[in-house]
Symmetry: C2
Subunit: 378 residues, 2 copies
């Protein structure tokens, strides 16, 4: 259903690869824009394609609450529902429970919570998460994971890692069972999620155990939940080396341009982050020299493109002055054009990352990028 | 600069025509989507083209307040600024002063008011309105007009008509003067606006006087400001017959599908209205059988297109269930896709109107359309 092919391996751990899915290949390292509720804010599938996007992320937790996984299944699955014929990965909801749901009770069996939308009672378990993502018919589902609120607290991190491992076993049993059933159910591959907070020994132990379960891909979870950036990056670097080279390695939820350049150099293959689209809606536009805040009055008369060398629809047709005007007027088109640019910037950056990995001079590329790239992120 | 060609004339007054502009021809009767602030809400120029749009309306009053006509002129004019290479018509601001500005003082010389955005003091006169629209470089500008708050009050209507006529004279003097100057200034053609409230004799007198001034086009103004619909339609019908057949005849601001079918049958050539885009954002989608409210829960599991026979990007790719989901979640893409559909519906309706006018069986078309078209409008 899904297969990782490493095309070239770099010193430092980075690799150029290709992820084969039932909805086509994805050149890696790859960045997935986030379409939480089944749409990337303000962008049509045609605009996403034009911006170079190959694979999207959606959220099975949110979609299960509304419009419901059964409903989407009846409507032909998530690809058909949202009009996207490329690969889709869904997050399982572990992190959303941790951050969004109210009156959530998480026990070994699973979680019981009230919907943050209408207060309705919901249950999530490793098994139901597998079934929901199979109903959505996505290319990649994520196993249900337990998140530690304090990745720097050893007991909390160890306990989240152990539970995530037990839940990974139950998830595997569920999709192994379902694979012998309907053909529909077997279309979704599942990735396991490594936990273990900021502790290398916990991550090592957890990685060994989930690798034993032989998933087609592995994600590093439990980072960027409040710890210092140095801790995030250190953990990210040692964690990826604990995962098998033959499998796809996915860093969940991290994705400033600097993150992408660093993490790709260490061997991560897959990323997702709301930054390009969320920042676009806030008027923050990426350029090779850093992000610019288009609402700044200095752009009111600036007839140049956001980035003159950029090949996106926005930069080919509109000036900073026009985007400034739209942002000040809160015109929807401003958010759309800024999102087109930022998504294109991200896809273009991934293309440069892949080219640098292929050329074998990644360290130079990284140094040049970081030297030039400044400015406010996040 | 602009020329109206009547291709075929129907019984009942309707005609199929072509408006030649410096930015290409417009097949008439034509509907102009509204891009008040220099963007049609949520739609790129590429999406507007794909939906069949030939000509847009923007508002010189709003653009003059922000980002300023001088600024847009420096940036290459409104076409370049908003990335639209088709014809553009701008409204002058008479109606906006009437409905939006605060502490407005309107006298014979012109209007003094506070910007509704930041309270800054502004002045508008017939002459400054001409200059602003010339700075924007639009294909068609409208002369500054005086609006009567009570079109059914004879004194008020007569006085607004008389002032609008005097202002039309001053406008003509201003652009005749400027035509002898810079080439830039002479790119904009101006249409006069007929006033006279609901009174046929006032409209007749006013029409005769503005026709005497020999403008390349004439608009019917001062309608749909609160009077009963029967009064609007009666006035619209007798008014168009008072305008010369060789000139383009524009009904300002009216545009339900029913309006378009009726008014085109009487000989109007040009329309604008916020309805297709505003209603789209509110979840109201047009079909040949009437508007549907996509937020209604009956559409939650409906896997059909908004209109199965529709050729728009939205109907080709998405179901009512998906649009329902996006509308309930208030996702930006929902407003964009609904706007694409409604704008396409309008352009497609105008195409059918033109075909019916060409075929000489407009009365049949009108009867069939009105028989089938139901549902809530506005």
């Amino acid at each position: 259903m899904i297969e990782m092919e490493v095309l070239s391996q770099c010193a430092g751990g980075g690799r150029r690869g290709r992820l084969q899915t039932l909805h086509g290949p994805v050149e890696t390292p790859a960045f997935m824009p986030v379409g939480t509720y089944g749409s990337v804010r303000g962008l049509t599938p045609a605009q996403l394609r034009e911006a170079g996007v190959e694979m999207l992320l959606a959220n099975s937790y949110h979609l299960a609450l509304r419009p419901g996984a059964e409903n989407i299944s009846k409507l032909g699955g998530l690809h058909s529902f949202m009009g996207w014929d490329g690969p889709i990965l869904t997050d399982s909801g572990g992190y959303q429970l941790f951050s969004l749901a109210s009156s959530v009770k998480i026990a070994e069996e699973g979680a019981v919570f009230r919907s943050h939308i209408d207060g309705a009672r919901f249950e999530l378990s490793p098994e139901s998460c597998v079934r929901v993502q199979q109903l959505l018919g996505v290319d990649v589902g994520m196993v249900f994971d337990a998140v530690s609120a304090e990745p720097g607290d050893r007991d909390s991190a160890a306990s989240a890692a152990a539970r995530t491992l037990r839940w990974a076993c139950r998830s595997k049993a569920e999709f192994d069972r379902s694979e012998t059933e309907a053909a529909q159910a077997s279309k979704t591959a599942f990735f396991a999620i490594m936990q273990g907070g900021l502790f290398e020994d916990l991550r090592r132990e957890n990685a060994a155990a989930i690798v034993e379960l032989d998933f087609p891909g592995y994600a590093v979870g439990g980072l960027s939940v409040g710890e210092a950036r140095e801790e995030t990056m250190e953990t990210a670097e040692f964690s990826v080396a604990l995962l098998p080279e033959a499998k796809v390695r996915y860093m969940m939820g991290m994705g400033t341009p600097t993150d992408l350049v660093c993490l790709s150099g260490w061997g991560y293959d897959l990323f997702d982050c709301v930054i390009p689209t969320r920042n676009a809606r806030n008027g923050s536009l990426f350029t090779a020299a850093g992000a610019i805040s288009i609402r700044n009055s200095r752009y009111a008369g600036d007839d140049t493109a956001v980035e003159e060398s950029c090949g996106c629809y926005c930069c080919a047709n509109f000036s900073r002055a026009y985007l400034h005007h739209l942002a000040k007027r809160k015109e929807m088109l401003g958010a759309t054009l800024a999102s087109i640019h930022n998504v294109y910037f991200y896809q273009s950056l991934m293309g440069r990352i892949r080219a640098a990995l292929e050329s074998g001079r990644y360290a130079d590329f990284r140094a040049e990028f970081l030297d030039r790239y400044q400015g406010v992120e996040q």
